[in-house]
C-alpha cells in the first residue's frame, strides 16, 4: 500500500516520516528534475506500507518547481491514500491545502500534528468537530515526541482498504455551475483522449468508487460547507445555492438560455464593475456552446458518473478548478486548445463574483477555512512565549546583524577547528598507505603511479568530506531546523536586492565561504532558474575554505595578513559587481520576498542526522568518482612527463599574467581540488620557499587568479546537476574571463606602482 505524505512546509511531515521509515529510506529525484523526495517502507500492523514523503507544498496551484513536481506526482495518482500533515498551531492556513486535497475525492487522512504547539498558543481544537466537517478522519499527533504516529498510519490503512472517498467541499457556490460545465467538457475530452488532456494527466488512472464511510457525519455540516453531491441528492437535484446562482447577473453561459430577463435589476446592485465585466466578456467559442445548463433539473453534478463503478482521476471537477485558477496567459501559451474554454469559465466566474476567477476561488476557500477554524477551534490568551523575545533581538534592525555575524563566525570557526583536527590525521593515514604501496609494488611503474593517484584522490575526497563537510552539514541542518535561516533571509533581503537576488539566496552565498558544493546544492531552495543561476554563480565566486588555504598560505604568509584580507574585500566587491551585471543581463521577474517566518523549534536529532546523511551521500556520489579518476589521470600525467606539454599549452595564459611557465600545471590541479594548486605550486617550483622563485607581485597575481578562476571539479559536477550543462559552461567561461580580467588589472596596477 502506497501512502503519500503531503503537507505545507514546516508541518512536521518529515518528522512523521522519519519516525517510522528512518535510515532505510531513500531519496530519489522526480524523473527529469532535481527535485527530491524521500521514500521508504514501514511495517504497520503486520503490513508493509510504502511511504512517500513529498516536498512541502502550500497549495496545489504551485509557484515553484518543487511544488509543481509534488503536485504532478499527486495528480498522477500513484498512491493509495494521502496523509495530509497539518501544523495544528497554524490550523486556519493549513486547512487550505486540506480543502484542495478533498477536491481530489480520494482516500485522505488528516494528521493534526504539533498539538503541543497549538496548546502553547492557547488553542483548543475540537478534533471530532473537524472530522465531522471535513468528512475524513482526523488524528491528533505530536510527531516530534512520537505521539499519534502509529494511529495516523493505522487510520490510513483502514481508509485505503475501506475504499472510503471523501466529498469535495463547495466553497465557492457562485462558481459551481460554471465548474460543472467545464468539468463536463473535460470529462468528455478525457474519455475521447482528446488533445486537451492536461499535462499531469498522462498517467491517468481509473479508480473504483465505493460508498464513503464517513457520509453519515456529513449531515451535520452547515450550508456553506455542504458537500455538493449530498446536497443535490437530498434536495432532489437542485443544490440549495443554485437559487442564488440564478439571481446573479447574466453571463455568457446564461444568455443562451432564457434567463436573461432578470439581469439588469441585479446588475444595479452589483455596481459598475460587474457591468463592465459583462461588456468585456469574450465570445463563447462554438465548440463549447452551452446548452441551457443552468436550468432547473439539468444542473449537472460535476461527478457525472457518481453511481458507476469507475471514475477518472483526477476528478473532472478538480481539473476544472485547476484550470480556472491557472494563469490565463500560461493556458494560452501551453494549452491553446483548452484556452477558449478556460477563458470562458474564468470570465463567467469573474462576472458573478466581481473579482478575477483565481482570486474568487482562493478567497472563497480562504473564507471557508476561517469559518471552519472558528467552528472547531477556540483561542484563549497564548502563554507568554520566550520565542517572541528571541526574535526581538535576532530580527532587530541593529542587533539582528550582530547576532547574524556572531552565529556565522562561530559556525565557521567551529567547522575549521573540527576540520583541521581531522584533516591532518586523515591525510597522514593515506600518506602511510602510499608508503606501504610503494614497498609492495614497483615504485617506478605506471601502475604504481595510477594506484598512488587513486589513493591520494580518495584521501583528498575523504579529507574534505569527513572533517569539513560533515560538521558543516550538521550545523546547517540545525540552523535550518531551528528556523534561523528564515531570519537570515529576512535580515539580508535588502542587501541581496543589490545583487539582483532575494534574502532567501543569502544561504547559498554564505555557505560558499565554507564549500562551494553544498552552496550550489543549496540554490535548490530558490524558486526560479534565474535566481538559482545567479546565486550559484555568486556562491562559486566566493572563496571557499580550500581557496582560503591558498590565500592565507601564499599571500597571507609571504605578503602579510592585510593583503589576504584585501583579497577578501576585493572578492566582495567583485561579487557585488557581478551580481549587478547578471541582474542587468537577466532581469528579475519574481515579485519579491514572501516567506513564512516559522516559529523557533528544537531540532529533532533524528531529522538532523538523516538530513546530514542524505546530503553527505549525495556529495559522495557526485564528487568521489570525479576526484579519484581526476587524481589518477594527473598522476599519469606526472608519470609520463606530460606536464611540459601542458605547461606549453598554457603558456599564453601564464605569459599574459606574467607568471613562471611552470605554474601552468598547478592551475589544472587546482580544478581538481583548490588547495592542490598550493601543493603543486611548491612541487612545480621545486621549493617551499616560494618568494625565492616568484616575486611578491607574481604570488599575488597567482593567488588572485586561483581565487576567481574555474571552480573545482566537484563543484562543476553539482552545478551540472542543478543548472544543466549549458549554464554550467556559461558560468565557467564567465568565471575564467573574470579571473583573467581581475589578475590583469592587478598586474597593471602593480606595474604602475
Amino acid at each position: 500500500m502506497k501512502v503519500a505524505l503531503v503537507g505545507q512546509p514546516n508541518s512536521g511531515k518529515s518528522t512523521l516520516f522519519n519516525a517510522v521509515a528512518g535510515y532505510r529510506s531513500l531519496t530519489s529525484n522526480f524523473a527529469g528534475t532535481t527535485v527530491e523526495y524521500t521514500h521508504g517502507q514501514a511495517r504497520v500492523g503486520g503490513e508493509v506500507l510504502e511511504l512517500i514523503d513529498l516536498p512541502g507544498l502550500y497549495s496545489l496551484t504551485p509557484t515553484s518547481p518543487v511544488e509543481e513536481v509534488s503536485r504532478d506526482y499527486l495528480l498522477a495518482g500513484d498512491w493509495d491514500v494521502i496523509v495530509n500533515v497539518l501544523d495544528a498551531s497554524q490550523l486556519a492556513r493549513s486547512l487550505e491545502l486540506t480543502l484542495e486535497l478533498l477536491d481530489l475525492e480520494s482516500p485522505l487522512v488528516v494528521c493534526l500534528n504539533m498539538m503541543d504547539e497549538a496548546a502553547r498558543k492557547g488553542m483548543t481544537i475540537d478534533t471530532h468537530a473537524l472530522q465531522t466537517a471535513l468528512g475524513v478522519p482526523v488524528v491528533e499527533a505530536i510527531a516530534a515526541r512520537g505521539r499519534g504516529i502509529i494511529e495516523t498510519f493505522r487510520t490510513a490503512q483502514d481508509i485505503a482498504s475501506g475504499g472510503s472517498r471523501p466529498h469535495a467541499f463547495v466553497y465557492a457556490p457562485e462558481a459551481e455551475s460554471i465548474l460543472a460545465r467545464l468539468a463536463e467538457k473535460i470529462a468528455e475530452g478525457a474519455l475521447e483522449c482528446g488533445g486537451s488532456t492536461p499535462p499531469w494527466n498522462k498517467a491517468q488512472q481509473e479508480r473504483s468508487i465505493k460508498p464513503p464511510l464517513w457520509s453519515d457525519a456529513q449531515q451535520e455540516r452547515g450550508v456553506e460547507l455542504l458537500p455538493r453531491n449530498k446536497a443535490q441528492e437530498e434536495s432532489g437535484v437542485e443544490p440549495p445555492h443554485s437559487k442564488a446562482l440564478r439571481a446573479l447577473p447574466c453571463t455568457v453561459l446564461d444568455c443562451s438560455s432564457n434567463c436573461c430577463g432578470h439581469g439588469p435589476a441585479v446588475e444595479g446592485q452589483q455596481g459598475p464593475r460587474v457591468t463592465t465585466a459583462v461588456a468585456e466578456l469574450p465570445v463563447l467559442p462554438p465548440a463549447v456552446s452551452p446548452p441551457a445548463a443552468l436550468h432547473e433539473g439539468q444542473f449537472q453534478s460535476p461527478i457525472t458518473n457518481h453511481q458507476s463503478q469507475l471514475a477518472v482521476f483526477p476528478p473532472p471537477r478538480f481539473r476544472a478548478l485547476q484550470w480556472v485558477q491557472s494563469d490565463p496567459r500560461q493556458v494560452r501559451r501551453e494549452e491553446p486548445e483548452m484556452a477558449p474554454m478556460v477563458e470562458w469559465a474564468q470570465a463567467g466566474i469573474a462576472v458573478r463574483t466581481g473579482q478575477p476567477a483565481d482570486a474568487a476561488i482562493s478567497s472563497a476557500r480562504h473564507a471557508a477555512c476561517l469559518t471552519l477554524f472558528e467552528r472547531v477551534a477556540h483561542v484563549a490568551r497564548p502563554r507568554a512565549d520566550w520565542r517572541e523575545q528571541v526574535d526581538r533581538l535576532a530580527m532587530h534592525p541593529v542587533w539582528g546583524y550582530a547576532v547574524l555575524m556572531g552565529v556565522f563566525l562561530g559556525f565557521f570557526r567551529l567547522i575549521f577547528d573540527v576540520g583541521k583536527l581531522g584533516e591532518d590525521r586523515i591525510l597522514n593515514l593515506f600518506d602511510a598507505l602510499v608508503a606501504a604501496l610503494a614497498q609492495h609494488m614497483n615504485a617506478q611503474g605506471a601502475l604504481f603511479a595510477a594506484a598512488k593517484g587513486a589513493v591520494l584522490g580518495t584521501a583528498g575526497a575523504v579529507a574534505i568530506v569527513l572533517p569539513y563537510l560533515l560538521p558543516f552539514l550538521v550545523g546547517l541542518a540545525i540552523l535550518e531546523d531551528i528556523g534561523y535561516l528564515s531570519r537570515v533571509g529576512y535580515l539580508m533581503d535588502a542587501a541581496m536586492h543589490r545583487l539582483g537576488l532575494h534574502g532567501t539566496a543569502t544561504l547559498p552565498i554564505l555557505v560558499g565561504y565554507g564549500c562551494s558544493v553544498p552552496a550550489v546544492m543549496a540554490t535548490r531552495i530558490l524558486s526560479t532558474r534565474r535566481d538559482r543561476f545567479i546565486a550559484a554563480f555568486l556562491a562559486v565566486l566566493v572563496p571557499c575554505s580550500a581557496r582560503m588555504t591558498v590565500i592565507f598560505a601564499l599571500v597571507g604568509f609571504y605578503l602579510g595578513a592585510n593583503y589576504a584580507l584585501g583579497i577578501y574585500a576585493l572578492n566582495i566587491l567583485v561579487v557585488a559587481v557581478a551580481g549587478h551585471l547578471l541582474a542587468l543581463i537577466w532581469p528579475e521577474i519574481s515579485p519579491g520576498m514572501l516567506m513564512e517566518v516559522p516559529a523557533y523549534r528544537v531540532p529533532a536529532p533524528r531529522v538532523v542526522a538523516l538530513k546530514t546523511w542524505w546530503r553527505l551521500r549525495e556529495f559522495v556520489l557526485v564528487a568521489f568518482p570525479l576526484l579519484v579518476v581526476g587524481s589518477v589521470v594527473l598522476s599519469l600525467v606526472d608519470f609520463y612527463g606530460w606536464q611540459h606539454g601542458i605547461n606549453a599549452a598554457l603558456s599564453p595564459l601564464t605569459a599574459l599574467l606574467g607568471l613562471p611557465r611552470s605554474v601552468g600545471l598547478t592551475l589544472i590541479f587546482g580544478v581538481l581540488r583548490k588547495e592542490l594548486s598550493l601543493l603543486m605550486l611548491m612541487q612545480a617550483l621545486g621549493t617551499t620557499h616560494v618568494l625565492g622563485v616568484m616575486t611578491a607581485a607574481q604570488i599575488l597575481i597567482f593567488t588572485l587568479f586561483v581565487t576567481f578562476y574555474l571552480p573545482c571539479m566537484a563543484t562543476l559536477a553539482s552545478m551540472m546537476r542543478e543548472l544543466g550543462w549549458r549554464l554550467t559552461l556559461a558560468a565557467s567561461a564567465a568565471l575564467l574571463a573574470l579571473a583573467i580580467v581581475v589578475s590583469l588589472a592587478a598586474r597593471g596596477l602593480m606595474l604602475l606602482l
Binding site: T63, Q90, K121, D327, P356, A367, P397, P591
Partner: protein
C-alpha cells in the same frame, strides 16, 4: 494606504491585493487574502521586508509586494 506605509503594531485589515496572477497566487499560498486582519511586527532596515502577523502565522513580505497590498487601520 498600502501595507508598507502602515505603522508598526497597528491592527490592519487587508482591503485589496493589487497586481497580477503571480502576486495573488503568492499571497494566497501564504494564506493572505483580502479581509484578513494583520499586524506589522517589525521591518528590516534599508528598505528590507516587513514581518507581519496574520492569525499567528508570521510572514516576511518584501517592500515591492507590501506596496501591492491596500490596507485600512482598524479602530
Amino acid at each position: 494606504m498600502n501595507l508598507y506605509e502602515a505603522g508598526d503594531h497597528a491592527e490592519l485589515r487587508i482591503l485589496l491585493i493589487t497586481g497580477g496572477w503571480e502576486v495573488r497566487r503568492s499571497f494566497n499560498q501564504m494564506g493572505i487574502q483580502p479581509g484578513d486582519r494583520v499586524r506589522v511586527l517589525r521591518r528590516a532596515p534599508f528598505g528590507g521586508p516587513l514581518e507581519i502577523d496574520n492569525q499567528g502565522t508570521h510572514v516576511a513580505v518584501g517592500k515591492q509586494l507590501a506596496e501591492k497590498i491596500r490596507v485600512e487601520v482598524l479602530p
